[in-house]
């Protein structure tokens, strides 16, 4: 068990700024009444881009991509970062 001891917005100096610095803008993320984000793949892509701002890849309108397009984009980004694929679906 762990317990959250850290406010990511705290002034401890050991956390990233959560907004205005490439971090996904949560206010723009669509939620349904149960709080479910509409697009987990898009979130993964946006997070990856935010964590690696130097990654030389451009995408303008993520919403215009279908699932296959987003998976291809995600694969491309991971390839560029040298990230290997999981070997199985259950760990």
């Amino acid at each position: 068990m762990t317990r959250s001891q850290e406010n990511p917005n705290s002034s401890k100096g050991d956390t990233l700024r959560p907004a205005g610095n490439g971090w996904p803008d949560d206010s723009a993320r669509a939620y349904d009444p149960s709080g479910i984000p509409q697009d987990e793949l898009g979130k993964e892509i946006e997070t990856l881009k935010a964590l690696h701002p130097d990654l030389q890849i451009e995408f303008r309108d993520l919403d215009s991509l279908d699932r296959t397009g987003k998976l291809l984009l995600l694969d491309q980004m991971r390839d560029m970062l040298g990230i290997r694929k999981p070997a199985r679906t259950a760990i």
Binding site: M1, R3, E6, L16, Y31, S34, K43, L51, R84, A90
Partner: protein, 200 residues
């Protein structure tokens, strides 16, 4: 594939390995499958106890909401019977203490269902859930280009620290409330992946 979609847990009763599906926990699901279930069922199983568990007051519905706001992830491991055997919440906004300048995932909450805790019930249902959820988070860290790094603040019981130590976490320092900062380095995470033969 974003990530492996299941973890493997072991039935304490039959020693069989069981696939538990990783599900994203949002407010309603966390409320229905954890907050409304975990501790009520424990009271039926074990009767009165001397003291509460440290996580007994956690509201996973609230944790799931907080995760959404922070751009993090709240996930549960669901066995085929539909029960959530454990849950984890983490964000990608923490700096590594072991590797200055690097980013780490931060595990804010992780817990296994009360009926899986051998110190609470005579016959636990499943073992391995907590460790596998930590492995899932570490693999997500890797898939986000963070090389498997994880940070967390562990409750200060020796059992808890020993558990994270056995996985490969390094004990760092103590917080004011006596929780312990611990971190899984990139090297230790990669060694774990190699042992488990997770990566292609």
């Amino acid at each position: 594939m974003i990530l492996p979609d299941s973890i493997i847990v072991t039935s304490c009763r039959t020693d069989e390995q069981v696939c538990a599906r990783i599900v994203n926990l949002y407010r309603n699901l966390a409320q229905d499958k954890i907050d409304s279930v975990w501790w009520g069922e424990l009271h039926e199983l074990s009767g009165p106890r001397d003291r509460d568990e440290p996580d007994e007051h956690w509201e996973w519905a609230v944790i799931a909401d907080q995760c959404g706001v922070q751009g993090g992830w709240c996930k549960g491991a669901e066995t085929p019977d539909g029960d959530i055997q454990g849950a984890i919440a983490y964000t990608a906004n923490s700096r590594s203490l072991l590797e200055p300048g690097e980013v780490s995932l931060y595990v804010a909450y992780v817990a296994t269902a009360p009926w899986n805790r051998g110190w609470l019930v005579d016959r636990p249902m499943y073992r391995g859930t907590g460790g596998r959820l930590i492995l899932h988070a570490s693999l997500h860290s890797y898939m986000l280009g963070l090389k498997g790094r994880l940070r967390l603040s562990a409750l200060s019981s020796q059992n808890t620290i020993d558990f994270y130590d056995s996985i490969g976490f390094t004990t760092l320092d103590e917080n004011e409330d006596r929780t312990i900062n611990m971190e899984l380095s990139a090297d230790k995470a990669m060694a774990w992946f190699e042992r488990e033969r997770i990566l292609s």
